[in-house]
Amino acid sequence: MDDYVVTVLSNIGMISFIALSAYLLLLTGEISFGQQAYFGLSAYAAGAATAMYQMPIWAGIVVGACAAGLVAMVVGALTLQLSGLYFSIATLAFAEMARLILLIVEIQVDVDGEMVGPEGANGFHGIRWMFERDISLTEFMLLIYGLLALTLICLLLVERSRLGSILRMLGSDDLLAEMQGLNTVRYRILAVGMAGVIAGVGGALYAHFTTYVEPQFFNVMLGVHALAYGLIGGLGTAFGPLIGVAIDIGFLEAIRFIQGYRMIVFGGLVAILLIFMPRGILDEERVHRLKAVFSRRNHARA
């Protein structure tokens, strides 16, 4: 595969993390405009861990994901009493705050006679883990997809479990969930934290793939795109957001030849799609029907 294809595929993989993160919150009925903040915070934290303090990459990913998860839980705790649009705007405000703070932060340490670290608006250069160890783009892409598969399996297991039903229950009626004796506060903070961790893994990978991060990348547009992916692909299953990402990035790459009119075409198509499928391509109903078809086939075989 040439580098261009590998880069596009890697981008699809890394953006999928933030799409999955937004999707997890959509399940609990909350719309977050701010998942890009956890993606960005983790990119900085993981980059700092490997480039400034010479940790191995797995430690960098763990540091980034944990930092993102912790911050997400704090934000989740602060915004507990908010829902609907209030929650969306609060997450938006937080994400923009985080981005603007990263534009100001300058912490640099001396690594082998070179200053490395976040440099305010100039971004964070020199996250060179990949080059130092001579790892090819293809190998890194396999790491991305390995972790993505792991995340997806975890999410699918969660969806089948009791926790998954509880999260969907919070999404459809949190008052009723509380009546059932569920501790809605705990589950909501858990969901927000999990979403933060997932976005964080993506961010940590992103920092090491591009070797350079800047706050400008983690703007609102990234967050709203992440949200749109889940809705385009469908809210019925964790595969939905992945379909959304593949459609967006894959489709936009495929229609390069109409350069300049891409958003006009793509925007129009998505708007029309949403009219006919307001909960995405793979919505709950279609997923249910697909499952029924598959289980019938299995029964027939048995």
């Binding site: 908010l82 609060a90 937080f94 603007l100 809705l231 891409r262």
Partner: protein, 299 residues
């Protein structure tokens, strides 16, 4: 002390343009319970069409102003048909995402119309500044504050003194009950959208002629400033939109003066986040949260 007062005055002048934008958001939210992310882009495309006439056909300023208003209304109707009317009322999320992709679409259309980074934007009146004691007032900003007040006054009359206003309030209160009373909710919503787009066009024209230029960033700027000002004041509240806009302007002006440029936007978002955590209803909003409202509806 003089600096402080001057900053506050400047902030209020800027804030009145935020207030004008917030009014548009608050009405759409009040009527539809949905949010129109492409509001800023709608105004931007309208203004771009006006500017395009000005740049390529050298028409008079009055025609630019009228074209801006008319095309903003048309674009607004396009958004309403595609993102709100066509999507059923319960799919709040789909409407929001749809209005977002249409934002991207409108922005790209505007950039195709005028591909350069900035264009001069013609003003209706020549700007005059006047001094009052030690303070400087910029005329176009003072007129913005006056314009905001006139628009809210007119809107108040429209909403509370006319049959259309009554229908609009009925639809926003309970669309089903309004339909039983013989109100055509779809038509009322379309009219509300056209009205809001018209007001957005007026606001956009006033803001752009104060800046004397138009850039492709205007859509994003207008959407976020309007949204923040609305949330600060309280969703769905008209006086709240004005107060929220003024508060946002004053805080930004002080942050810019005392802390520097990079803290201007940061302070705005910090203010918004703090307000949502401590007093989610905003300055003028209802104290009651949707969760409690839900509980009451069940009882």
């Amino acid at each position: 002390m003089i600096d402080f007062v001057q900053n506050t005055v400047d902030g209020m002048m800027f804030g009145s343009s935020y207030a004008l934008l917030a009014i548009g958001f608050t009405i759409i939210f009040g009527v539809m319970r949905r949010i129109n992310l492409s509001f800023g882009a709608t105004i931007m495309l309208g203004a771009y069409i006006g500017t395009w006439l000005h740049v390529h056909h050298q028409v008079s300023v009055w025609i630019v102003a009228l074209t801006t208003l008319a095309s903003t209304v048309l674009v607004g109707i396009y958004v309403e048909r595609l993102c709100f009317h066509a999507i059923r009322r319960s799919a709040v999320l789909a409407s929001m995402v749809s209005s977002f992709v249409i934002w991207m679409q409108l922005e790209e259309a505007a950039i195709h119309l005028l591909p350069e980074r900035t264009y001069a934007f013609p003003a209706l009146f020549a700007a005059v500044s006047f001094e009052l004691g030690p303070f400087l007032f910029r005329a176009e900003q003072t007129s913005m504050l006056v314009l905001a007040m006139i628009m809210v006054g007119a809107l108040h009359v429209l909403l509370y003194r006319t049959r259309f206003g009554l229908a609009l309030r009925a639809v926003s209160e309970n669309p089903l009950a309004a339909a039983y009373m013989g109100i055509n909710a779809a038509w009322v919503t379309l009219c509300a959208f056209a009205l809001v787009s018209l007001m957005g066009g007026v606001a956009g024209y006033a803001i752009l002629s104060t800046d004397a230029q138009i850039t492709p960033f205007f859509g994003l700027w207008a959407t976020f400033k309007g949204l923040i000002a609305m949330m600060l004041g309280g969703m769905g509240s008209l006086p709240g939109a004005i107060l929220g806009g003024l508060l946002l302007g004053v805080v930004e002006a002080h942050a810019l003066w005392y802390l520097g440029n990079e803290y201007k936007d940061l302070s705005a978002y910090l203010l918004l986040f703090g307000m949502l955590v401590l007093r989610p209803g905003g300055l003028m909003g209802q104290r009651i949260l949707s969760r409690e409202a839900l509980a009451f509806r069940r009882v």
